[in-house]
């Protein structure tokens, strides 16, 4: 079986642009959530989000790119460039159709679409929106697969490309898709990751409507509290992570730095409800079991779990149930944390950001904490790494995700030497 190495990382995240800033934030235990500044949040129930301080000019985008690309696409391009540089891969020496692209996103170019909708509908006054006010880029935003094209162009990639859109597991699933393409031999290199820039009135409104987002508006930096008894819901985030994935042997041959191996991936559906979760975590557990089986690793080998940890009571119970079901007694021993406590929930992007966090945890021997976890919910009895990062060498890391539509995904990363 062909194996998959992570050889390059790039991120745009709340708290800082670039992987170095990202890791500093995650290990500091600080939260980048704040009162929404992109629009007037006062009419909304939930008024906090984890926003990126992203300056597209400073990030190196050209005026043409800034005009052409939605914010999410801009994040993806900037992350892809960082990842490619980090990998040291000379793509000019590769056959272009041996490089593929897989980018996750749950809501695509929603920010640009809403902005343009407001223009062509005269502020929502007309159903027959006016094409004469539409920007030429509108169709690019309408079909967000264009974001994968932009990332492909960064790497000169002419192999298979797609946007993967499975709600909040899009990020994990896009990376998992990339892993499958390398393993089956369709490509040797993948630009893999995910992006999202959902912080806009329509996103806030739709999460308000189902009380999914937190009403804890008074202390914005304490708004997202996964596993804490006072948690009130998720906090929206934004950002992107793109990785360079390479076929193991060729990465080794060229002397690439290997952060980690992606050793197992599985996705399942709960076929239960578009937004609801059962407390038993049965289907997520099944995904974890299948990922372990694919990696050929026992549950006891897992040294850290990067949880979905969205900050809702339903998720906390569901996920804790899944860990107990799949890991047995080891669930009580293994450290678990949710980085959404610090960077919010960037929907389709977060899964890829979490995979990068897992690769960095392996690289640096540090486990990021769950910020704002002061008083654990008594229903939850696992080790959720409260407040401060933990220095701990870890060879096998599990990352899980759960999304609207019933999607449940699990990925296993291992240290570069573990399965050698």
């Amino acid at each position: 079986m062909r194996r998959v190495a992570v050889t390059g990382l790039g991120t745009v995240a709340p708290g800082g642009i670039g992987v170095k800033e990202y890791w500093e934030l995650l290990t500091s235990g600080r939260s980048a959530t704040r009162t929404i500044s992109f629009f007037d949040p006062s009419p909304f129930r939930s008024r906090v989000a984890a926003e990126c301080d992203f300056d597209p000019v400073a990030a190196g985008l050209t005026p043409q790119e800034i005009r052409r690309l939605d914010r999410a696409a801009q994040f993806a391009v900037v992350s892809a460039r960082e990842a490619l540089a980090d990998s040291g891969l000379d793509v000019a020496r590769l056959a272009p159709d041996r490089i593929g692209t897989s980018i996750g996103s749950a809501v695509g170019c929603t920010t640009s679409l809403e902005r343009e909708y407001v223009v062509v509908s005269d502020g929502g006054r007309t159903w027959n929106v006016d094409h004469r006010y539409a920007v030429p880029e509108l169709y690019r935003h309408f079909v967000p697969n264009t974001m994968a094209a932009e990332v492909a162009w960064v790497a000169g990639a002419e192999g298979p490309a797609a946007v993967i859109s499975t709600g909040c597991t899009s990020g994990l699933d896009a990376v998992g898709h990339a892993v499958e393409l390398i393993r089956e031999g369709s490509v040797d290199v993948m630009m893999a990751g995910a992006t999202e820039a959902p912080i806009s009135p329509i996103t806030s409104a739709c999460f308000d409507a189902i009380h999914a987002t937190t009403p804890h508006n008074d202390e914005p930096e304490r708004a997202c509290r996964p596993f804490d008894r006072s948690r009130g819901g998720l906090v929206l985030g934004e950002g992107a992570a793109v990785m360079v994935l390479e076929e193991w042997e060729s990465a080794r041959r060229r002397g690439a730095h290997v952060y980690a191996e992606i050793a197992g991936f599985a996705a399942r559906c709960n076929a239960y409800h578009m937004t609801g979760l059962k407390p038993d975590g049965r289907e997520m557990a099944e995904a974890i079991d299948a990922a372990l089986q694919e990696a050929g690793l026992p549950p006891e080998s897992i040294g850290y779990v990067n949880a979905h940890g969205s900050g809702t009571r339903m998720n906390d119970r569901h996920e804790t149930g899944a860990f107990k079901r799949s890991l047995g007694d080891h669930a009580y021993a293994v450290p678990i944390s949710s980085i959404k406590s610090m960077i919010g929930h960037s929907l389709g992007a977060i899964g890829a950001l979490e995979v990068v966090a897992c690769a960095l945890a392996i690289e640096h021997g540090v486990l990021p904490p769950t910020a704002n976890l002061h008083e654990p919910d008594p229903e939850l009895d696992l080790d959720y790494i409260p407040l401060t990062a933990r220095r701990q060498q870890t060879d096998v890391v599990l990352s899980v995700g759960s999304g609207f539509g019933g999607f449940q995904s699990a990925m296993l990363l291992t240290g570069p030497e573990v399965r050698s």
Partner: protein, 423 residues
């Protein structure tokens, strides 16, 4: 290696609702293109579309799902029911984790989204539907089909615009090869509302003709853009051995080859990727161009895109080297549903041994060097088909389909890989 075969089709197309109604209309050359009725389009430069007629959602979708689903998802749910019924599959006898759903999407459930954007911006946030968070998004068809049929296996949603139907099927085959017995795949799209229309006008690729018979003319020297339609096809893909075991009533054909490519960045001077996609799909199927009996072309109806596709086809097969057809001249381009419908059409062509026609293009531009099947069906008993599709932004996909009547359920004896059985 296991073989992925198609055992069920569910078609919803502008010229026919249901597989056989669509197929009959297609062989008769009946178009579904007409002036828009779903909304008043008189103010827009493009006024024609392929609308599905006579779809009464309440007859197909449980009432409790009505408030939470867009027109697009209702059609998808109906087409999925038909496809599963056609496959004769008793899903209770299949392992719950052994069934997946992989669909294509393009712009999401746009009409639902427009209504909620209007509610938000004209009335305020408390008027936004509790279902907005998932009803409009790209994953909605996969999620709703999975829930309705209790399919808990690996699933997925791929976005490559008009190429998506093929990419979804390619991905479904991936799941089959990993040991999943059955995957519901394909794509259904419907964006015929003003907020779905205006972005497409902005693309500059839609035809502005007023005559439905002169609007969408792929490979004609008069090509002037395309017409958009709604609908698509849901396609049941199964592991051949598993289909045999359960006694599937029919096998339409095998997904014998699949490949996808990206065009190079604009200005790179490198050739576009459609031909490479076709070559890679043929290689994947271990076939040569000589083995292909018909090509279902992407048929953009845009001069530069038609030229590029004609170059790819005649470059690969030689001038007039293979019959080429574009039955979507009768439905319009269905975005995420388009390539899935083409695959369904190709499978019906293999089943009945007849190539459906391209309508309204009696005189394809001679310099394209294509043997376009015009006016009426051609009874050439095709046994294999190549389906091509391109998605906006440079996405190319190719699928090779093959009749399997000689050994409909056999596993591929050429390789010996043993798939992992799902628990």
């Amino acid at each position: 290696m296991t073989r992925a075969v198609v055992t069920g089709l569910g078609v919803a197309a502008p010229n026919g609702l249901g597989t056989e109604a669509f197929w009959k209309a297609t062989l008769a050359g009946r178009t579904g293109l007409a002036p828009l009725t779903r909304f008043d389009a008189t103010q827009y430069p493009s006024v024609l579309a392929g609308e599905i007629k006579g779809f009464v959602a309440e007859e197909h979708v449980p009432s409790r799902l009505m408030p939470q689903t867009d027109h697009m998802t209702r059609i998808a749910l109906a087409a999925a029911d038909w496809a599963i019924g056609d496959a004769g599959a008793d899903l209770r006898r299949l392992p719950e984790y052994g069934m997946g759903v992989v669909t294509a999407a393009s712009g999401g459930a746009v009409e639902f989204g427009q209504r909620e954007l209007e509610n938000l911006w004209s009335k305020g946030r408390e008027h936004v539907s509790a279902y907005q968070s998932f009803a409009w998004f790209y994953a909605v068809n996969t999620g709703q089909i999975s829930i309705r049929h209790k399919m808990r296996g690996p699933s997925g949603v791929l976005l490559t615009e008009q190429a998506g139907g093929i990419d979804a099927l390619g991905h479904a085959r991936r799941h089959i090869r990993k040991g999943i017995p059955l995957v519901v795949s394909g794509g259904v799209d419907a964006a015929l509302c003003p907020w779905g229309w205006v972005p497409q006008i902005a693309s500059g690729l839609m035809s502005t003709a007023r005559d439905p018979d002169r609007a969408y003319l792929p490979f004609s020297a008069d090509a002037r853009g395309y017409v958009v339609g709604e609908g698509g096809a849901v396609i049941v893909v199964e592991d051949a051995a598993s289909a045999r075991e359960r006694g599937a009533p029919r096998v339409y054909g095998e997904i014998a080859g699949y490949a996808a490519t990206m065009d190079p960045a604009p200005g790179s001077g490198r050739p576009p990727g459609l031909r490479r996609a076709a070559e890679n799909a043929l290689a994947d199927a271990r076939l040569t161009p000589r083995d292909i009996d018909v090509v279902f072309a992407d048929g953009a109806g845009v001069l530069a895109l038609d030229r590029a596709e004609a170059d790819a086809i005649s470059g690969l097969f030689g001038p007039r080297g293979v019959p080429v057809t574009v039955p979507k001249t009768m439905t319009g381009r269905l975005l995420a549903g388009g390539a899935a419908l083409d695959v369904a059409t190709a499978l019906l062509a293999l089943r009945d041994g007849v190539i459906p026609p391209t309508v309204n293009v009696p005189d394809p531009a001679p310099d394209y060097g294509l043997d376009l099947v015009t006016d009426r069906p051609r009874d050439t008993a095709p046994r294999s088909a190549l389906v091509l599709a391109r998605g906006y932004g440079g996405f190319n996909a190719a699928l090779v389909l093959r009749r399997t009547d000689d050994r409909p359920y056999d596993t591929d004896e050429r390789t010996t890989a043993c798939p992992q059985a799902p628990r």
